[in-house]
Amino acid sequence: MTPTPAITLTDTIVAYRRLPAVHHVSGRFEAGSLTAIAGPNGAGKSTLLKAIMGLLPLSEGRIDTQGVTPRRFAYLPQVPEIDRTFPLSVLQTVLFGAWPRAGAFGAVSKVDRECALACIANVGLSGYEHAPIAALSTGQWHRVLFARLILQDARVILLDEPFAALDERTTEELMTLVHGWHKEGRSVIAVLHDIALIRKHLPVTLLIARELVAWGPTQEALSDANLERAKAMTDRWARDAGGPRQRRHDHAGHAHA
């Protein structure tokens, strides 16, 4: 099995139409770390994940993945981008997780098929293997996506709001899987907006508001002062319609509404 790579960001800038969504971010996701990415809406959380996956070009800076191509990473995007009325069964959907081994033309091995069934059982969907995905509830659908992630067997797993719209029980069960991956030495990076959930489950947090606010042990990164700072930076974009083209200015002297 390939070792888990560390992911190092060096002065990373990602811009949409010349407006930076991620601005001068540097730091390192250690190999085998379990990191939350937190921040207000529009802070560049999803953008950062896409940049790590190589799905968005960097405007400046570098992302070093120690020679492991991001195609070997597993990535769960925010869900609405998938067509859930598509005529596939649960098993067929999960089996796409075997892509790194089967590819576009190779046969799906018996081992992968057995693994896929085990993954489906693992997320609590036994009995649904041949159900069409259109028949699933939102919670069941997320479990299918997690089963596909497990089958991908990636050393680095990126999750973008994986628990949005899920009830507490489903979240807890899927969180157990995440902890399992962490124990196996995989790196997990999850964009989450639920601060309480992060404090409870994730040891490391990257707090971002376009620029890096804090990156470290969750208790320190999510300190009141840091959260306040992130909020202040957000308020600034809301006020300056031009956004982050403005130079940084000093906030010490004035209060925010």
């Binding site: 991001p70 959907t93 576009a104 969907l125």
Partner: protein, 297 residues
């Protein structure tokens, strides 16, 4: 018994042009049926229509250069269709304009050019021939072309099936695992163009889309599995071809519309009676999936 024979078999047994028409339509069905399914799944149902209009100037130029020559018109049509599809794709990639929007811009331009060329150089009879085709005038060369396109289409679809399904279903995942994007889409668009051009001389550019899309749309009411949908769509296209040709022969009406209207009948029947989310099935009791015990914990 002999009445049945007279109705079903005699037209094909007695007339060579009917046999040719039958073979041509069956071959078209084998290629166009599955292509239509993927157009529906990609939410590009109207794209076939756009491309079928876009091939017109190429066909017209081919006609101007060498008359009603199948090869000249086909090559021209394929070239025009590919150019329009390619320009639309490149434009949307370079500018962020939605692909259907940029395609609309280019196909309308192409269509106007085609009508201009035809009306400047030919008579209106020629335009009608190109727009509506005539299955009953398919010659041996035409048969070879149609059969060749059908064979190529099926082999290519079989080869790119998995990436094509993934591209339609979950394009972000496809890109993330590097299954992606560009070449699968390009090959598929090439197949769309090729099948529409193969169909144009038999059914006409306007009717060709009907044989492609209607069976595919109808098939979604009968299966929830992608392989099943492809099979049903192909079977419907074949059925529409046979029944449409017979109706056209006995009622002495144009073959292209007869085939497409037969497919349309299958579509309407499927909306009503389809086993999957057809209207009747919604009113009747259906079996449903039970929560298995082990999933409850």
């Amino acid at each position: 018994m002999s009445a049945l024979y007279d109705f079903l078999a005699a037209p094909f047994a007695d007339f060579a042009f009917m046999r040719r028409a039958l073979v041509a339509c069956l071959a078209l069905s084998l290629g166009a049926g599955p292509i239509g399914v993927f157009l529906v799944l990609r939410r590009m149902s109207l794209m076939g229509d756009a491309i079928s209009h876009a091939v017109l100037p190429g066909v017209a130029v081919g006609y101007l250069i060498s008359g009603l020559s199948l090869w000249a018109m086909s090559i021209g049509g394929v070239a025009a269709g590919l150019i329009v599809a390619l320009l639309a794709g490149l434009t949307s990639r370079a500018t962020g304009l939605k692909e259907d929007a940029s395609l609309a811009g280019f196909y309308l331009t192409s269509l106007a050019l085609g009508v201009l060329i035809v009306s400047a150089a030919g008579s209106s009879v020629d335009l009608l021939h190109i727009l509506f085709g005539s299955i009953l005038a398919v010659d041996d060369q035409g048969l070879i072309f149609v059969a060749g396109v059908a064979t190529f289409t099926m082999l290519t679809l079989a080869a790119i099936f998995r990436p094509l399904v993934l591209e339609c279903f979950d394009p972000v995942f496809a890109r993330a695992v590097g299954a992606g994007g560009g070449w699968v889409h390009a090959v598929f668009l090439g197949l769309v163009v090729l099948n529409l051009v193969a169909a144009f001389q038999a059914l006409g550019t306007l009717m060709a889309v009907g044989l492609m899309m209607l069976p595919a749309l109808a098939a979604r009411f009968w299966s929830e599995d992608i392989a099943g949908i492809v099979a049903v769509a192909t079977a419907f296209a074949v059925a529409a071809s046979v029944v449409g040709l017979l109706v056209s022969f006995h009622a002495e009406i144009a073959s292209g519309p007869a085939i497409v209207l037969t497919a349309a009948t299958l579509y309407v029947v499927s909306i009503l009676a389809g086993s999957r989310s057809g209207l009747l099935a919604r009113w009747l009791r259906r079996p449903h999936y039970h929560e298995p015990q082990e999933a409850k914990r």
